[in-house]
């Protein structure tokens, strides 16, 4: 047998559990470019990424807590993005007249840390099942947002507006930069160890509760950044759009090969999963397919992706990848 791995073998070596999402991404991108060359031309790329950015960021935000395993999930990501949108636009910018990023960014990060602390405390100290605890905060955030601002209105500072145009990649890069920085800290290894096996992680001396809370706080910060990106896309405050991001983000990370059981996957998979959903949406919208069909297509593809990411199928694919070359 040849020692050189086949193309499929090398590809799956690079992307791991995100292999399916990566292949799907290439196919979808090609179709999109053929159908709609103007939208995917280099000059329009900023705006196009700006359209996709809130979903990508919502998926990135959902990733850290899911990686810790033990049923870790944060359903409040979507409504929290909506809440940040309303706070930034309505309260900081319109009411208080604050437009400087030097004030808005720290404020937003602080709110993110606080939200993560609440979710993390409920899930790992009070020990409510994460899906229930964050469903609680999901409802609370949805309620607060609508209470603060019953109808869409407002305007955004120019620098936020740029995140929907030329600078749309910046919030995504910011999240990646934070993540790459964390990889140099013990926290990242602790997080992945925890997702691999909680009991073994505990008997390895890892402070399980602290790591879990920190993962929720990280999710909170990423979700806050997602809220800023959403504000850019909307160009105003809209109290109703946040919640839908939660389930789309969960779909995106599952599609991207981030195991909901924890310990497997990463930000690249989450990004590819979100891009797949965005590109699929864009194709189906091009053909004027009804939104009901759109939902059905999402559901079917999601299930197929999760099946393809399952360990037995992955192992079989790897065997095929090897023997096809031998």
């Amino acid at each position: 047998m040849s020692t050189k791995p086949s193309f499929i073998g090398r590809f799956s070596g690079t992307f791991g559990t995100a292999t399916f999402a990566a292949l799907f991404f290439i196919v979808l991108l090609t179709i999109n470019i053929l159908l709609n060359p103007a939208r995917f031309s280099p000059s329009a790329l900023g705006v196009t990424i700006g359209l996709a950015a809130p979903l990508i960021l919502a998926a990135l935000a959902s990733t850290p807590v899911v990686l810790t395993g033990g049923g870790g999930i944060d359903l409040s990501v979507g409504p929290f993005m909506g809440l940040v949108n309303v706070i930034v636009v309505q309260y900081l910018f319109m009411n208080a007249g604050i437009s400087s990023p030097l004030l808005i960014i720290p404020a937003v990060i602080l709110i993110g840390l606080l939200s993560g602390l609440i979710n993390g405390f409920l899930a790992s100290v009070v020990r409510i099942q994460p899906i229930v605890a964050t469903l609680g905060t999901y409802l609370v955030y949805t309620g607060i947002t609508l209470w603060l601002m019953p109808a869409p209105a407002g305007d955004v500072p120019d620098w936020i507006g740029a995140f929907a145009r030329g600078a749309s990649i910046v919030p995504i890069l910011a999240v990646y930069a934070i993540w790459l920085g964390l990889r140099r800290l013990p926290l990242y290894d602790h997080l992945m160890a925890l997702g691999g096996d909680e009991r073994a992680a505990y008997t390895s001396g890892i402070p399980v509760t602290t790591v879990r809370i920190l993962a929720y706080m990280l999710t909170g910060v990423f979700a806050a950044i997602a809220g800023v990106s959403l504000s850019a896309l909307l160009g105003s405050a809209d109290p109703t759009v946040g919640p839908e991001f939660t389930l789309n983000a969960v779909a995106a990370i599952a599609l991207g090969g981030v195991s909901l059981a924890g310990g497997k996957g990463g930000l690249i998979g989450a990004t590819l999963g979100a891009l797949d959903i965005f590109l699929l949406q864009s194709i189906l919208t091009y053909f004027n397919v009804s939104t009901f069909i759109l939902q059905i297509a999402f559901g079917v593809i999601l299930v197929i992706a999760v099946i393809l990411n399952a360990t037995p199928v992955q192992n079989a694919l790897r065997r095929v990848g090897r023997s096809s070359h031998g």
Binding site: P186, D197, R199, I206
Partner: protein, 254 residues
């Protein structure tokens, strides 16, 4: 070997493993190798887990004296590890290995904060430490980045042992460390155990199902029966028969 001036490492005060069991009191000094014997489920495993805070006793207190000389009470595992206690579990599949991670990550998870600056991880230092223990324990694996689950059982066990040796603990608790390990490897591990005791003044507590092993390594054996220490076999009486007698509940003085 401990001398009369050796400082105390651990004090067990009026410990009760079950409500009805007699109290356990013992003191362990620096450089000792203490063995725990008994039929399965007679309390020796719980005792070991209580010593590192993984399990809580019915009553009583465990005091650990750190290298700096301060006394702390062991209440939970994380605190114990921070103070300088390490525990190598018996069941590596459920309590030991982190199955989704590499050999290097499994090895370094308890020592991530060592050798780095400003709290940053120093991957180079981790690799060098792993190389050191790879030679010392004669570990066999293809690369530090190999998945831990791709290793043989004996090598997984060595990675776990290396994880805790690298932490340079003051007190190392071993739960049946050579179970299912072949003879040459077993003898190699005995050498390593003696070496860490003499080189780093580490204190060992070894639970073993092999009486030979306890005779080879230990200066003192606590024999468990009915959730308490039935008898302590000291160095001058350390013979196969004495341990067997204790295990089966006889006070055999001959």
């Amino acid at each position: 070997m401990p001398t009369p001036e050796s400082p105390t490492v651990l004090r067990v005060h009026d410990l009760r493993l079950t409500p009805a069991a007699p109290l356990i009191n013992t003191t362990i000094t620096e450089g000792e190798i203490v063995g725990l014997a008994g039929l399965d489920g007679q309390g020796q495993e719980r005792f070991l887990e209580v010593l590192c805070g993984l399990d809580a006793p019915v009553s009583g207190r465990i005091e650990f004296i750190t290298a700096g000389g301060s006394t702390i009470e062991i209440k939970n595992f994380h605190g114990a590890v921070k103070a300088g206690v390490a525990y190598l579990p018996r069941n590596r599949k459920t309590q030991g290995i982190l199955p989704s991670l590499s050999v290097l990550d499994n090895f370094s998870v308890a020592t991530l904060d060592r050798g780095g600056r400003l709290g940053l991880i120093n991957k180079g230092a981790q690799r060098r430490r792993l190389d050191h223990y790879r030679d010392m324990l004669q570990m066999v694996f293809s690369a530090p980045s190999a998945r831990i689950t791709s290793l043989s059982g004996g090598n997984q066990q060595k990675v776990l042992l290396a994880r805790w040796l690298a932490a340079e603990p003051r007190l190392l608790l071993l739960n049946d460390p050579t179970r299912g390990v072949d003879l040459p490897t077993r003898l190699k591990l005995y050498d390593v155990f003696r070496q860490v005791v003499s080189a780093h003044k580490t204190t060992l507590v070894i639970l073993s199902t092999e009486i030979e092993e306890l005779l080879q390594l230990c200066g003192r054996v606590l024999v468990f029966r009915d959730q308490t220490v039935f008898t302590t076999v000291t160095a001058d009486q350390l013979r196969h028969a004495a341990i067997i007698a204790g295990i089966f509940g006889r006070h055999d003085e001959h």
